[in-house]
Symmetry: C3
Subunit: 347 residues, 3 copies
């Protein structure tokens, strides 16, 4: 594990060091779970009471908690402690990797990988065991193709991007720089397109591809389908969690984030800086403006042109209570009519 | 890219050629996005206004738009333009493949594939890099086993069917002819069967298999579980989108289509020619008649014996409005009682 | 197929043999589908009428049906027929495997597997074609690593556990004994953690791992993310169906079972002996007590401290009826106010 002086850590994060700058920390932990070797952080006001009680050697706090932090062995004061924590984890992960026995070497292609002679793999890229790279595919500098990853013909992976094990990057699809695709991701399967004809479905070949921007992260077993005629597009900085379905010809605006199990149907256009909660469904051919926030498990059935928070979840209850209310819900329209009738009768 | 004379394209689609039959098109596109080298189509009445404005060299139209199409450089008149478009994409995809550097050869097994000595792979089948084919498995004429696909023991893949990269066809499971299974599909994992006993779950071994008919397409990362005693059955022409869960002993009738993220619980029987919208859930042991259409995100909690469209989605709203209505929903049964009391009082 | 005398089968299950103990059965089937070579069972009272009509050679029944079973060729009387059926399938599956041509040998590593020199694979473990086992990984006695499974560095798989084909066990993650992970499972992908900063998302490296207890079964394409700082924990005897998402730092108590397509958001703590129906969503940072049962497709938005059944499903209806009621639902709060006004007016 990495070990670091609090003063160095403070410099790294661009914060102000308080207390013992020479103290060594070797672990990141929550306030509750900390010991003297732990660096912790206070970002959520909800955990404020834990600051007084923590045994952490160092806590990253905002200027608002400067005075309180004086009583700790040490602290780092930063404008945005959560952001500082994020950067700290990044530094930590890198430092940890360097210490470990299996640190990856500079680059190279594992002997068991199957790389087409016409593929263009940068010498600084790392291709792991049993990966398959097809004709004309391109792997950029510093990129990583994990075990069992499949890059189909003419696909491309940008600099410093990582295909984790068991991902598929489909024919002609492209991924920008500094992206992470987690295990099981499928980019560029056929979109769901069929023409009904005499009771059968005639396949519409999907002739578009998928284009993914820079700094995109895509969670395990998430799928992004290729476009029917034009491309499906994921813009820069988008973060998709696990088990998400993105239909063909969808466009997701920059820096939008979606939690697990979301489904976005074909040709929907999601704005930039949106968030979509877990299990939400967005129907096809809709448009969501920038800065739209959809609550978990909400079904978006029409376009949303105004930024804001939108919800549509059935409130859960003890089963017996739910049953009564749900049964009444089926008669709701009739109840409204009865209220109207009463209003007339009493007016 | 393929290049084709409009007259030839018209013959191919069995349509009537209008205007310049000698015109060459080399691209399929939407009316809006077209240029003079583009063949486009008008299928959805919603896009009718775009017909006058399009720059397409050729448009596929229905007889209803014959007169209007006269003013275009060229047109193909077909009874069903959307079906014609589907067949055009199929021709296009085949023609394109023939032109490309990586056109697959007639057949053969990649040197890195692991094929059991007792497997029966037809000489015209194509087995790609690092595929695994187990004992007694059968691969039909013209079939395709993609990179990293796994065919377990005694599974079979019919003529001209394709296992895309990273699919699993489980032990003893069968796939008919002309099927496509997209990356990450898992056919024949164990159904979810356990007997509760003294607070623990005793596994019920799943002794059935999965039988898939002809012309079935299954989307990326979709799962179809093997049956407990009898088989799970997917009939001819069924189309399943991505990330769908089909429980054990389900039967899906011919030419039924399901959009992404649908879940069908064990032993449900879905009729033929049904459609199920994205994110819908169908509970176990239910029966849906033929020609039942379930809207997206609807939860089907009892059998449906009458064809028609069924829905059950909570209407979404701005968060503040939703909160008020949702809170009231919890008291709905009480409201009904109050309406009754009012009716008595005023009668 | 295995063939067994009813008397032996009765001894195996610890039941009482009635009728012809020398009768041979060679198939397990439902009461409806049985023939004279079939052993069937009656567990669900719903199928009681089928007992009189069945053609099964042997039926497993509870003491309550002892008298009725006298008229069958043979029967096995057990306290818990469903549990007996479960154990019978286990015996059957084992017997069947022993009879088949491809019975796995005692252990060994397939020549095409890529096993790091520092990995510790027990000699009785079986590693199949093209599996990848990273540095420092451990595979216990009798364990099974399927084709294309990937065990990342320092991961461990306990005795008699099975990684089915195409699973990923992430870096440093551990699986206990007698577990089954079905194809496509991803254990230990990064949790979904980002700090918002100036309109972008800063990655929070996920420094925890996933710890899975004994006797856990995880369905196809299900994902369990690694923890942010501490570990994600799945306790003993948990059963997860297909396509489930378990967020980072979730803890699932012993012997809890979840059906397909469930999503559990980060840091939720689920008690022991719970059940969660298909498609349910459990929001993050919630606590569910032991013995909480969540109905299918229910969205759990707050903690539940009392055991019991909880539901929250929008009742589906014919589309026209649903449309009317759903439109009225948007005015529900207003309706309540109108009822209040009426009550005032008439009081």
């Amino acid at each position: 594990m990495p070990e670091v002086r609090v003063a160095d850590l403070s410099a790294l994060l661009g914060g102000e060091c308080i207390g013992r700058g020479d103290l060594l920390v070797s672990r990141i932990g929550t306030l509750l779970d900390a010991d003297e070797n732990t660096v912790s952080f206070l970002a959520n006001p909800r955990y404020e009471p834990q600051l007084a009680a923590t045994r952490a050697g160092c806590v990253i706090v905002s200027p608002r908690h400067r005075a309180q932090a004086m009583s700790l062995p040490s602290a780092v004061v930063c404008e945005d402690p959560y952001w500082a924590y994020a950067r700290l984890t990044q530094w930590w992960a890198k430092a940890r990797t360097g210490l470990e026995a299996d640190a990856p070497e500079a680059g190279g292609v594992h002997v068991s990988a199957v790389v087409d002679a016409t593929a263009d793999v940068h010498p600084t890229a790392r291709v792991e065991a049993l990966a398959v790279i097809g004709p004309g595919a391109q792997v950029g500098p510093g990129a990583h193709v994990g075990s069992h990853a499949v890059m189909e013909a003419f696909s491309s992976l940008g600099a410093d991007s990582s295909l984790r094990p068991r991902t598929v990057l489909g024919r002609g699809c492209s991924v920008g720089e500094r992206c992470i695709l987690h295990p099981g991701v499928v980019i560029g399967a056929d979109g769901f397109g069929f023409a009904p004809h005499q009771g059968r479905w005639e396949k519409i070949e999907q002739l578009g591809a998928v284009r993914i921007g820079h700094d995109v992260e895509i969670g395990a077993n998430t799928c992004v389908d290729r476009g029917a005629l034009e491309d499906t597009v994921i813009e820069d900085g988008v973060k998709l969690d696990n088990l998400i379905q993105i239909g063909h010809n969808v466009r997701i605006g920059a820096h939008t984030a979606m939690a697990g199990c979301v489904g976005v149907a074909g040709s929907a256009r999601i704005g930039a800086h949106c968030t979509v909660g877990g299990g939400a469904i967005i129907l096809g051919h809709l448009e969501l403006a920038d800065h739209v926030h959809v609550s978990a498990a909400t079904v978006v059935t029409r376009s949303i042109s105004k930024p804001g928070q939108y919800s549509g979840v059935y409130p859960f209850d003890e089963n017996a209570a739910w049953e009564k209310n749900a049964a009444t819900l089926r008669q709701l329209h009739g109840l409204r009519d009865r209220i109207r009738a009463l209003e007339k009768a009493t007016s």
